[in-house]
Amino acid sequence: MTTSLNQHLWLGLSRVLRSHWLHPLNDADAWERLRVWMNPMWSRRDYPARVLDIIDETPDTRSFVLKPTARWPGHRAGQHVVVQVEINGRRVHRSFSLSSAPTPDRRLRITVKRQPGARVSGWLHEHVRIGDVLRLSAPTGRFAPAEGAAPLLLLSAGSGITPLMAVVEELHRRGDPRAIVFVHCCRTPTDFIFADRLRVLAAEWPNFELRVHYSASAGRFDVRQLSVLLHCQTLVCGPRALTQNVETLFLAAGVKDQVRSESYSGRVLPQGDATQESFGVHCSDTEQVFTARGDTSLLEAAEAAGLKPAHGCRIGICKTCQCTKRSGTALNLRTGEISSEPNELIQLCISVARSPLELAL
């Protein structure tokens, strides 16, 4: 009774505190800025997490052990978070799988492979030190093995091992009785992320079998040679080429529901010097689609297709037509800048498509 009364009082009070009649005293942005300025762990937006430890897994891969605040909602093995970092004044967001299963001490781990030319992974490797604070989103994703008695196949390539490591830890923690085959593919033994941990598990856990394919010595990994493939509940994580291959095989065998996959795709690079080519543009907010030629501004192309995006000067000055490009590559005709990273702002009136695009329109 008292708790519910307390709850009511608390809810009422917080509603009063957030009322627009008190603005600007309750300006949420200002209070957030003040809290973060005093201590980044006091942020009430996103989920701040302190870096407790940094582990070199391979020459180009590092794990960051993180301790989030009490507000952290908890995660399930196989989920990922969006990490927000600020690089030279610019906020950038990237998804990383959590490579650890939930533990009682509420520590998290993300494992980052340094990709040549990639801004965020390189920055995390170079700039993050023990004691720093990273900003995480809430965990998302439903990448986890199905319940049941069928044996499990975990298949990963390269840094695709990260969510599967969390899955393996979770299966081991709860003593899952199923037979588990873990197949991992990487270039050389030094590129094998989590090698020691997985070997220890394989030695002490009878129903866990580890197989590693080194492509530098054994050649390209061919998923069709995996005899257990279609007989197991399968989780696959790696480059899109691998996951698509596996999905196609399961689809052909009529057992598509036995596979779950997660893939990472790099940047969508421009497809040639395509001024004459046409590209599909998907407006994800309104679910409309139009075609844009490589030599026509996106604004003109959208208008020609009957759409009416907000616009003003049409010469790149006023930014009325600015919108977020979720994916794809666009060229700014005024500055010559190429935008190929996801979630960058582009001005429709002076931008042309250089690949299929997804816009927040």
Binding site: H20, W21, L22, H23, P24, L25, D29, A30, R33, W37, E86, N88, G89, R90, R91, V92, G312, C313, I315, I317, C318, K319, T320, Q322, R334, T335, G336, E337, L345
Partner: protein, 376 residues
């Protein structure tokens, strides 16, 4: 404009066309390429420094507002009243000029910070930011100083050039100007209502209500904040807070008005006709921005308090480049102008503002009335 057309005009005031440099199409292209290159160079260099600057100004705005409002609320002596008013006025000036105006131009959109995003920011002034983006970012910055298209030229109230129509009420324009300066935030707030069209009955029914809705909402919240909420929180001190807030708003109005009028109404700032700008290239647009704008010279603090509109020329050339960069770009722009023989209009504040006030007085009289007239 060809010679035959030019001859239809009565004698032009000396200087006014001399200051309009004409470039050949080739020169104009080259001129455009040089300014484009300067823009690209600075845009590629944006980073940490600019982010730190704008965040520190936001912090300063909040600190000044807290100190100013605190002194007004809890003080009881005239000194804390004066300091409180100044701090609050400073907060409002910095917020409107260096943060609001510049953020709304999209100068900091590249940071990816939602609190500094041009489409989301709402500023501490009665002008709705959506209205501002249309009347200022689009209309004023695209059609700068084109008579009949740039409503900022005289605000539909003042005759600042002989090309604008003179009527008997123009005689009283020094008074109109004083009223506009005192209530400047209200002047810009109602700009997008297009009351001129409404008075003449040229606006479809219902359009005014639609246009006024965001303005009324914004005005209500601003009036409530400064004249209800904060005075009430001060209990018995409420008259003091009420008066202090009104004075802070007045100081901000007078200051922003003076700075903004120096941007396009100084003696040498040129006006353009629709015919003149037909078929204008980006180089031509750059040229018009330079010839229609004027700079103010001063120290670092002066530039900051003007939101770097003291570099009006650079701002009009590169409206989406973070404003503190204008100071670095100015010598290069000046050098480019010198090489193309383009007049670069720059002087101290009092000198420039003096010429603005002189124009207001001079054109109140029926001088330089020309055949092709545009409504004042």
């Amino acid at each position: 404009m060809n010679d035959q057309k030019l001859s239809q005009y009565p004698a032009l005031p000396p200087g006014s066309t001399m200051l309009k440099t004409k470039l050949t199409p080739q020169q104009l292209d080259q001129f455009q390429a040089e300014l484009d290159a300067l823009r690209s160079e600075v845009a590629a260099d944006l980073g940490e420094r600019d982010a730190t600057h704008i965040r520190s100004v936001v912090r300063e705005v909040r600190l000044n507002a807290v100190v100013g409002r605190g002194l007004l609320m809890f003080g009881f002596d005239p000194i804390s009243f004066i300091v409180g008013v100044c701090a609050l006025a400073r907060a409002k000036i910095l917020e409107n000029m260096e943060v609001g105006h510049n953020v709304l131009h999209g100068q900091y959109d590249w940071m990816g910070d939602p609190t500094l995003n041009s489409q989301k920011y709402e500023w501490d002034i009665v002008c709705d930011s959506g209205h501002w983006r249309r009347t200022h970012n689009f209309e004023h910055h695209s059609y700068t100083n084109i008579l009949g298209q740039d409503d900022d030229y005289g605000y539909g109230l003042l005759r600042m050039t002989g090309d604008q129509k003179w009527t008997w009420r123009t005689l009283l324009q020094p008074i109109w100007y004083a009223l506009l300066a005192i209530g400047f935030q209200w002047g810009v707030a109602i700009q997008d209502l297009k009351l001129g069209r409404w008075f003449k009955g040229r606006m479809p029914k219902g359009e005014l209500a639609e246009r006024a809705a965001p303005f009324l909402k914004k005005a209500r919240s601003q009036l409530y904040k400064d004249y209800v909420l904060f005075p009430l929180l001060a209990f018995w001190n409420f008259p003091r807070v009420l008066l202090g807030n009104a004075l802070a708003n007045l100081i901000r109005n007078l200051w922003t008005n003076a700075i903004i009028f120096c941007g396009h109404f100084t003696a040498d700032a040129q006006v353009f006709t629709k015919a003149e700008v037909a078929g204008e290239t980006r180089g031509g647009w750059y040229l018009r921005q330079i010839q229609g704008s004027s700079n103010l010279e001063g120290g670092r603090w002066f530039h900051l308090l003007t939101g770097h509109l003291s570099h009006q020329i650079e701002h009009h050339l590169f409206p989406d480049i973070p404003a503190p960069r204008y100071a670095e770009m100015a010598p290069r722009v000046r050098d480019i102008c010198a090489r193309y023989g383009i007049h670069y209009n720059s002087a101290g504040f009092w000198r420039q503002y003096g010429t603005v006030l002189w124009r207001i007085l001079k054109y109140a009289l029926p001088v330089e009335r020309r055949p092709r007239l545009v409504d004042a």
